[in-house]
């Protein structure tokens, strides 16, 4: 026999959910009014009188498609650079003792706390044709002519990777910190070499962090604006730059909105793809 539902039973069962929902309400209202609503309005602008003209232009005009693909490619370079640079740093931080951990964290966080604009101008000083790096290399006799490090893809990737590196390091660090060191010891005891321990045990266990970091960096890269605009010198048109142009220079809000929608769709697609690719390796999580 089922016990009769007591009055207040619903409330008792859902009290925890209801309370946390209440606590989250201000933030959700904030997001709804200042983020979701404008997005819907923007999306509406991309469909003047229900017409798909803007989307047709965005997806068929060779220029825009190329810029979109270039954007995805640059984002991929940036993500790869961040992963290659960030993985060892996260590993170091995860194993570091107190002093080194504090020092390392400051090195990661300090740039993180500095304005993107300031850091980008900093890179311009370093990477320019007459910049610190080129002058040092010239004076050292290592090169004869200045390296083209700015106003091209290389400069954009360097600047963006620098800005986005912490977004790779932190998810990796969080996952690495939780890995039981005994597992590596056990593998070693079973006859695995250092490389085998890494490849078979450690790296697979960090995959959730890799996925999180890669997703974060990639998604942020796709929409990046300031760094490509300044370090690309107009020669590395990324979709964010293009959208800004449509709004500010051509006052073409409808088309800008359509490009934004395409960018959002591409971002979601990339995220879904990464989940699918890595799912087979992450059944255990």
């Amino acid at each position: 026999m089922k016990p009769a539902a007591s009055p207040g039973g619903w409330w008792r069962r859902h009290r925890d959910n209801a309370t946390s929902l209440l606590a989250a309400t201000p933030a959700m209202l904030f997001l709804a009014v200042l983020y979701f609503l404008p997005m819907v309005l923007l999306f509406a602008q991309s469909l003047p009188n229900g017409s798909l003209v803007h989307y047709e232009k965005a997806l068929t005009d060779g220029l825009y498609v190329r810029v979109l693909l270039d954007t995805l490619l640059v984002a991929a370079y940036v993500t790869a650079a961040c992963l290659l640079l960030g993985y060892p740093v996260a590993y170091f931080l995860a194993r570091a003792q107190r002093t080194w951990l504090a020092v390392g964290m400051i090195f990661v966080l300090l740039p993180f706390w500095t304005s993107v604009l300031v850091r980008t101008y900093g890179w311009m000083v370093i990477l320019g044709r007459n910049g610190i790096l080129n002058r040092a290399l010239l004076q050292g006799g290592i090169i004869d002519t200045p390296l083209p490090l700015m106003n091209n893809t290389a400069g954009v990737v360097i600047g963006m990777a620098h800005v986005l590196l912490p977004y790779m390091i932190f998810p990796l660090y969080a996952v690495m910190k939780r890995i039981d060191g005994g597992l590596m010891q056990a593998a070693e005891g079973m006859g695995a070499s250092g490389w085998q321990v890494f490849r078979r045990i450690y790296f697979p266990l960090t995959l959730p962090g890799v996925l999180a970091g890669v997703t974060l960096v990639y998604v942020l890269s796709i929409g990046f604006f300031i760094t490509p605009a300044l370090l690309g010198g107009g020669k590395v048109p990324m979709i964010g730059v293009l959208i800004e142009q449509q709004v500010h220079t051509f006052l073409n809000w409808g088309f800008a909105a359509a490009l934004s929608a395409v960018l959002l769709a591409a971002t979601l697609a990339v995220y879904a793809l990464m989940r699918v690719v890595l799912r087979g390796n992450m059944r255990w999580t």
Partner: protein
């Protein structure tokens, strides 16, 4: 004279310091082929450090380790041919049970077909024949333990190390797994070194027990020897429950307690004037008639333990004695404050130097 048993593992003068703390203070230990030897001690006694030195995860500052006659002191863990079951099992969470067990074989480059066969054998050995495709987190604690055991023995190691493997299991499962490990070890004729802080577990599982205290071997012997004839106060205290009286040997074959109580000494006791400890296990004393009683007191505490009952008796001089007797519930129960006279054989007593 019989031939000396073959030595599977020999530790000579193993010493390890962590800063100012001496974790191992020159431990010598021989483990015979096919025996299960337990390193027993409280936390901080150095038992885990010794195990790590044997496994190769820790380098001794001084001393040497020999496995099957080979000096492996400087060899990395991978070169020692030692199987290990870790405290938390250390199963690889991203690999299936079968992949976990296959791992040491893979590292030894065992060909695929033989690998599969041996993994299947190992799974059958630990009674999990159909669980190869599962992930560790899909198994119960006891099953995870068995997988860890299968993985530790699948490559036929010359030595099996067990680091407090039963700590995480509940009591009933623990007893079952203890017996299972013991059966497996006997069946495969494995030499095993087992670390625990649980003296009961040590008594159940071991051929021999090495009791450790503050980085040194306090006593090495069979469970019976350790229980019946502890070598010192530390072992007497640590193993089982005991009555331990400080006494001084007096003339006429007696020892005298501070309260003036005189107790006949067992054979082989030292001469008059020596300070000794007298050990009497609580199950040894029997109820005695007036004339034969060695201890005459009143019950001050009764603890019902199911099949046995423990009584704490105090005599007129304030000396307390614990006795533990089987209790079937047929005789009228003893009560608080009841007078109780007990006696024992001289040989029930064991003396140790009081240091």
């Amino acid at each position: 004279m019989t031939e000396a048993p073959a030595i599977a593992l020999r530790v000579v003068g193993a010493t390890r310091r962590f800063g100012a703390t001496l974790a191992l203070g020159g431990v010598d230990l021989d483990v015979r082929k096919g025996e299960m030897l337990t390193l027993l001690g409280p936390s901080g006694s150095g038992k885990t450090t010794l195990l790590k030195v044997i496994a190769g995860f820790e380098m001794p500052d001084e001393g040497e380790v020999f496995l099957a006659g080979r000096n492996v002191t400087l060899a990395p863990p991978a070169r020692r041919d030692v199987g290990m079951v870790f405290q938390n099992y250390a199963l690889f969470p991203h690999m299936t049970v079968a992949q976990n067990i296959a791992f040491p074989l893979e590292m030894r480059k065992v060909p695929r077909a033989e690998r599969d066969r041996r993994v299947a054998d190992a799974l059958a050995l630990v009674d999990l024949p159909a669980h190869g495709g599962r992930l560790p987190r899909e198994l119960s604690g006891g099953q995870q333990q068995r997988v860890a055991l299968a993985r530790a023995v699948v490559f036929g190691p010359s030595l099996l190390l067990l680091d407090e493997p039963f700590g995480a299991l509940d009591r009933k499962l623990r007893e079952q797994m203890q017996l299972e490990v013991r059966r497996l070890q006997r069946r495969l004729e494995l030499t095993a070194v087992f670390v625990t802080h649980d003296q009961e577990e040590a008594l159940i599982l071991s051929d021999r027990i090495a009791v450790m205290e503050a980085g040194r071997l306090s006593q090495l012997g069979s469970p019976q020897e350790i229980y019946r004839r502890p070598a010192n106060r530390f072992v007497a205290d640590f193993i089982g429950e005991s009555n331990l009286f400080r006494a001084r040997v007096v003339a006429g074959g007696y020892a005298e307690l501070e309260s003036g109580l005189r107790i006949p000494l067992p054979d082989g006791a030292p001469g008059p004037g020596s300070d000794i400890g007298l050990l009497l296990r609580p199950e040894r004393p029997k109820r005695a008639a007036d004339g034969n009683a060695l201890f005459d007191g009143r019950i001050v505490e009764i603890v019902y333990l199911g099949e046995t009952v423990k009584y704490r008796i105090e005599d007129a001089g304030g000396v307390q004695l614990i006795v533990r007797w089987p209790y079937a519930g047929r005789e009228p129960p003893l009560a608080h404050g009841d007078a109780l006279r007990v006696g024992w054989d001289r040989d029930d007593l064991h003396w140790i130097p009081w240091t």
